[in-house]
Symmetry: C2
Subunit: 435 residues, 2 copies
């Protein structure tokens, strides 16, 4: 089967990430789709990017986005330029030309989505925009498909990473807003003109999309109440903490009997809520459905590859629809059944983890030395030892090890348990950093 051919508009941060991910994971992606996906035409003002990204094997490159949009070989146009214009005109022309569209452009969808979707419907093409909200978190798929059984009562999202980074730093370090903003700009988390991020406009773009998905209403960005975080002071952050709250910049949509609330503003939320503990540049969306109750989706809301993760997932969605009959659109086990792998599942002896050990031992000199020698002989190094106060001449010894082979630990424990100075079985619990 012919590959699906992609035309990329823009090779900036997200465009570069998209090209990189499509290339690095090409083999797995083909196994998922049952067909290759290739980037065959790119538009970029900086043509050097094509070489930088290692894309120059027969790829067409242009500085004119219209060349890609009008290329008859292209199946899917991926719009990663951002902003309202010329993105809007390019997308509409691509649809007119019968191309499917994937875009990460929240401003475009929030402002012109109604028009773009109507045109796509008329021309029978798909428009996918998972990357437009919360970067790599598949929240649009969750709202449109995963939670489709539910009447959505409300949703609340941390959907701007720059704002969340600033509020997190203000709380953790007691710093003031302007100071942290300057640092965020230096780190590249905030734009030179940070207005869209800190005044909530970016979050309002995303919230208006989520609200429409939740309530089945046309996109109405202009009716979103939007209040930024630039007036939040260190005092307010501190008083919030004293009261058991955190201040987060939330986008909230809620259905009431009178209508729909659609609002972005700083919000105090109880610190025990999971979403109150989403810190730094991370995003999260909490959705309350009438059947499912609360569900939360957490991940990176921006950045080259996290955003590319959503862009490429959309490309795969479209490619699957172009490739398989509807009944086989998504393979049962995510990969095509004739392309499953025979990668072995490892026996536990080959697993590597750190360990917590609780050992009951005689409380006398030399015991620790004897035990640590047995561990050391098996390449098991110790991160921490705590000896609890002895009871009836027995001491409880707690050890945390570094990462070791489970087989070595099995052997060490068997040897330790055979010692006279060790009383009874040793308790072991595997330790994972999950970092």
């Amino acid at each position: 089967m012919n590959p699906v051919k992609i035309g990329l508009l823009g090779l900036g941060t997200v465009g570069g990430g998209t090209a990189t991910v499509l290339k690095r994971n090409a083999e797995e992606i083909s196994r998922r789709v049952g067909r290759d996906i290739v980037v065959s035409h790119v538009a970029t003002l900086d043509l050097d990017r094509v070489d930088e990204l290692g894309l120059n094997h027969g790829i067409k490159a242009t500085q004119e986005a219209a060349d890609v949009v009008n290329d008859p070989d292209i199946d899917i146009v991926v719009e990663l330029i951002g902003g309202y214009s010329p993105a809007k005109e390019l997308v509409l022309q691509a649809i007119e030309n019968g191309k499917h569209i994937v875009t990460a452009n929240k401003a475009l969808i929030a402002m012109h989505g109604n028009e773009i979707f109507a045109k796509a419907q008329e021309k029978g093409v798909m428009v996918a925009f998972e990357a437009a909200v919360a970067g790599g978190i598949p929240i649009i798929k969750a709202m449109r498909e995963g939670l489709s059984a539910n009447h959505i009562e409300w949703l609340a999202g941390i959907i701007n990473g720059t704002g969340n980074f600033i509020l997190t730093e203000m709380r953790d370090k007691g710093r003031d807003f302007a100071d942290v903003l300057a640092e965020a700009q230096a780190l590249g988390y905030a734009e030179a003109d940070p207005t869209f991020d800190i005044e909530g406009i970016d979050a309002a773009h995303k919230l208006s999309i989520l609200s429409s998905l939740a309530y089945g209403i046309p996109l109405q960005f202009d009716k979103t109440y939007t209040e930024g975080i630039s007036n939040i002071t260190p005092e307010d952050v501190e008083y919030a903490s004293e009261l058991g709250y955190r201040i987060k910049h939330l986008g909230i949509a809620r259905r009431t009997t009178q209508g729909i609330e659609q609002r972005v503003h700083p919000t105090m939320i109880p610190e025990r809520r999971l979403i109150a503990n989403v810190d730094g540049v991370m995003n999260a969306v909490l959705v309350q459905g009438d059947a499912v109750g609360p569900t939360l989706y957490y991940g990176a809301g921006a950045g080259d590859e996290p955003t590319a993760s959503a862009v490429v997932a959309d490309i795969i969605d479209v490619a699957r629809a172009l490739t398989a009959d509807p009944n086989n659109r998504v393979p049962h086990l995510a990969f095509q059944p004739d392309l499953l792998a025979d990668t072995p599942i490892l026996p536990m002896s080959n697993i590597q983890t750190a360990f917590y050990l609780r050992i009951c031992a005689e409380d006398k000199p030399g015991v620790l030395a004897e035990m640590t020698k047995i561990l050391g002989d098996r390449n098991i190094s110790i991160e921490a030892i705590i000896q609890k106060e002895p009871n009836d001449d027995k001491a409880t010894i707690i050890m945390l090890t570094h990462i070791v082979r489970e087989g070595d630990m099995d052997d060490a424990i068997e040897t330790l348990e055979a010692l006279d100075i060790v009383c009874g079985k040793i308790t072991r619990i595997r330790v994972e950093s999950l970092g």
Copy 2:
């Protein structure tokens, strides 16, 4: 267009939830699918359930599951009996009869999924099983579609609510395992025979499904290392806390250069991780992709309506595939474009939230009385007041209000700011419990 006709096998907890959600949200579901979905035939040993659930409008009911499986009117057979047999035989017969399948049965999929999927492929029908892992959390959709761009490095899930409830109680209250298990049984969180939950078999069913989705390998439940939580003691829970860790019963799948780790066991994880703070009966799955980084999915892993949320989402997925051409399978804004609503977006004056107020005021007698009267006159009641030590005869007063109409608060603030005793602007931050 004719409605999609559902045959339900089982009207227990999840079957009842499914019937209830389909009925309660029928109007929204039709707007999402573009077509009605009706339960037209149910199999249940307890025929009284049909009346109890209010399903008796022309519905066919039987005690013989085969009647539903062989009913030529049925488009989708929803298997909610659970267990290996006769669920397996019924599902295979339904596939043979050309029915699409939706199931919540993790044991069935983990043990017999390879055979069932092969048969479905041969007969050209869909088999959907979102509810089989982590209840209402759309984790299968996230793994198969949302994260499809990624090479999955590892995943770790709290995928058994009973076990998590027990471990949470042990930590919060210092109770021991047997004691909490007995309570969980009394509360209905744990089965009379709790083996599947506490010994990790249920989690291993689910993990083997997630691992196959992550790595494109056949289902291999029998190769999953499975260790339960019945040996965890209050001492270990306490020592873990001292060391900055929490003990969670995790299912972990990880790819290494030698193969795939697939293991369920108690695990100590750093308490600062979001997943370490997933407590009680809630589930969460943390997935590390090479492009997206860490993403986390949180929600209820069991219960009638949370599980039904996933079952009904699968029914909608199948119904959408049977209804629309592939390009229009999922509407852009989740609901059919000709069925969008004109529900109004509310002006902020009609929004209701609680408020945090920070007020600078003269430090003299009667000030608080004057301010609280202004608030009270506008139906604004106070939950807490904190007066900070005065500085230069100015005091900082912090107030938390109960939920009020924003318009009333606007009016109160304007009135307060006009007082001579109030210095400068009043800071207000909206407060949301998100509970």
